[in-house]
Assembly symmetry: C2
Homo-oligomer: 406 residues x 2
Amino acid sequence: MAVGLKPAESLLPVPGVRLAVLGAELRYRNRPDMVLIALEPDSSVAATFTRNRFAAAPVIVAREHLASTAPRALLINAGQANAGTGEPGIAVARASCKLVGDALGVEAEAVLPFSTGVIGVAPPLDRMAAAIPGLIAALAEDNWLAAGRAIMTTDTVLKGVSRQAVIDGKTITISGITKGAGMIRPNMATMLAYVGTDAALAPAVLESVLVAAVEQSFNCITIDGDTSTNDACVLMATGRAGNTRIEKASGSACQAFQDAVSAVMQELAQAIVRDGEGATKFVAIRVDAGATESDCREVAFTIAHSPLVKTALFASDPNWGRILAAVGRAPIGRLDIDRVAIDVNGVAIVRGGAVAPSYTEEQGKAAMAPEEIEIVVNLGAGVSTATVWTCDFSHEYVTINAEYRT
Amino acid sequence: MAVGLKPAESLLPVPGVRLAVLGAELRYRNRPDMVLIALEPDSSVAATFTRNRFAAAPVIVAREHLASTAPRALLINAGQANAGTGEPGIAVARASCKLVGDALGVEAEAVLPFSTGVIGVAPPLDRMAAAIPGLIAALAEDNWLAAGRAIMTTDTVLKGVSRQAVIDGKTITISGITKGAGMIRPNMATMLAYVGTDAALAPAVLESVLVAAVEQSFNCITIDGDTSTNDACVLMATGRAGNTRIEKASGSACQAFQDAVSAVMQELAQAIVRDGEGATKFVAIRVDAGATESDCREVAFTIAHSPLVKTALFASDPNWGRILAAVGRAPIGRLDIDRVAIDVNGVAIVRGGAVAPSYTEEQGKAAMAPEEIEIVVNLGAGVSTATVWTCDFSHEYVTINAEYRT
C-alpha cells in the first residue's frame, strides 16, 4: 500500500560503522530480528528519544548509557517493545548490554539497547544471549540494507537512504535506515531511525545537527498522533572521512553537513508516512504566513490529525469545510479568519475565510484525485511557515489496527 | 448502530415554550427541516456556542442578538450549516430573524438563528420565508418530539429527555432535545441542544447553571475530536412553574435545579455518543487521583482521541499498551508513571505503571467484550477526577465519512 515508495535497493557503507543481523526467533520466525551496530573508537553518537512518559525500558537504559560514556555498539531487537514491563524489563535491557559489552571488550554503558514490537513484553534474554556471538562474527560495513530489513515489524517497504556531500574537500557519506511509526499493528510500537556518517565533528556539533534535522523531519510527520513508547533516532559519526573536524555549529562546513543530514532524515521520515498504516495518499500540509512557526505547526498538525480530513482525503472528496473547521479549532493564540486562504494542489478553495468565488466542485475533485496531495493554508498573520507530512485514513487502517493480535 | 439507545418516545411539554416544525425542502425532501421555538414574554435564555474560530453565520448572529435583548424565538434549519459563507451567509441569518420577528411582532434581535448541515452553503432565504407563516400557525407546547426529529441530520435515533423536580414545593419540568456531534457525515456539522424549563430563575443564575451543566455533559464527550463550526446549547426558562424566583447561584433550590438540568444534559450528551458515527461501543473514561481536574480531563481526552485505542475498542481487543501509551503522551505537567493504575470494566490491568501481576489475557478479553466499557485510570497524584464519554472507531466510521457527498 506504500504511496510512491520503492524499497531501498542499495545503501552506501559508512567507514567505521559495521552492522550485523541474525534471526534469533525472539518473536518472528525465519527472518532476522536482531541487529548489532558496532562503531570504531572515537566515534560520536547523538540520539533523541520519545517524549512519551511511558518510555520503554531500552529507552531509559539508552539515555543513561549515553550520558555516561561514548557508545561503541547499538543492539536492536524487533518483536518485543519492552515497554510497560517494569523492573524486569529494565533488567533485560541492562543484561543485554552487558553481554554485548563483555563480548566486544567494552563496558556495558558503551552499548545502547533499542526494542520495537509488542508493548508489555520483554525480549527473551536467553535467545538474545545465544545470538550475540553470531552477530559479532557477522559485523561488516556493507550490511545497512540487511539491518534496515531486520528492524521492520509490519512495515511493508524497506526504508533506507544514502547521500554524499563534499566537506572541506573530502567526500563524506551518510547512510540511514528507519522503520515505521504509528504503532503499525496492534501493540506494535516504534519509530526507529539510525543514521551513520564518516564525517568528523565535535560531539556538541553532532548533537546540534541531530536536533535541527529531527525538528525538520521526524518531528514533522504524523500517522495517527499516537506517540510510541520506544521512538528513537540515532546519529553516529565515525570521523573517518578525513575532513577537518567540525568544531562549531555554524559555518559553511557545518551547514553543508546539516543540509545533507536533514535531507536524509526528511526522506526517511517521509518514507514512514508513505508506508503508513493503510495509507493511500501522501499529504503535505504547509501553513504559511503565520505569526510564529509554532502557530503554523499547530494548525498543520490539527489538520493532519483530524479524522474527518483524513477520511475525506481517503475518499478524494474536496471537503474543504473540514479543513476550515480544523483550522478554526487549532490551539493558537489568534486567528483572523477573514484572512485565511486554503489551496489544495494549486486550486484556490478558500479566500478571505470563505469559499473562493472562482471555486468549482470539479476543480476540487481534480485537486483531490492524485496520490500526492499538497494542502497550503495561508494565515495572513505573519511570515512564518511550517510543513507537516501525513497520510489519509482508510478502511485498511481500521482493519490493521482492529485485527486481533496474532 | 446506536449503542444501548432507544428513540425518545415522549417528552413533557414545558409551559411557556411552544414549538413548531415544517418541511421547507431546504435540502431534505419529505421531512420537516425547520423548527421554530417561541417563548412567552419574561422568559430567560442562556446559551453556549462553539469555540471554533470559524463560527457559522447563525452563531455569530445569535451571539449578537443574545447580547442585545431577551430572546423570544429560536429559528433552526437542518440541511445547510451556513458556515464558511462569509457576508452573504450573515445576511441570510439576519434576514431570517427579521422575518420571524416581523411575523411575531418582536424585534429581529429577539430571534436567535441556528443552522446544521453542509458547510459552505447558506439556506435558501426564499424557502425559509415561505415557511414562516406555517411555522407560526403550528406553534404548540406538545411539539418537543417533532422538533427533536426535525433537527436530525444523519442521526439515527431521535434524542430527547424530560425530567421533573420539586423546587420550593412546586413541580418544575425540564425537556431537552439534541442532535449528534462529530460532523456526522461529509460536511454535516453540528451538535445542537435545546433545553426548556418552566422554572423561575434570574438570568444570571440560568447562565451559571448552563455553564456548569455543559461543563459536566457536552464538554465531556467526543466522537472524533473535531469541533464543529455550529455547536450550540441553549437553556430556556419561562418561569411559569410558580416557584419563588431563584435569585442566587447557591442554596438548595438552585442546587436542585442544577442537578436536574445537569442530569438532562448528561443524558442528552451521552445519547450523542451512543449514536456516534459508526459507534459499536459506549465508552466511559474516568481518570481518578489526578493533581487537578484539568490533568484528569487531558488524560481522559488523550485516551478518547487515540485512533489506536478506539480501533482496539472496536475489535474488543484488550490492547492495554495503547491506553498506557496514550496516558504517557497526555499533555500534563507531571506524571509519575510508577503510580499509574488502569482498570477496564473492573479488571486490574496496569499496576505501578506495568502490567498487573494478576492480569491474564482471558480477563482482558472478557473485560473488553461488552457494548459498554468503563476505563478507569488512577494517576496516584492527588484527589481530582474527571470522566469523558466516547465511542469506538469502526469501519462504519470510515464508510460514513469517506462516502461521497450526495
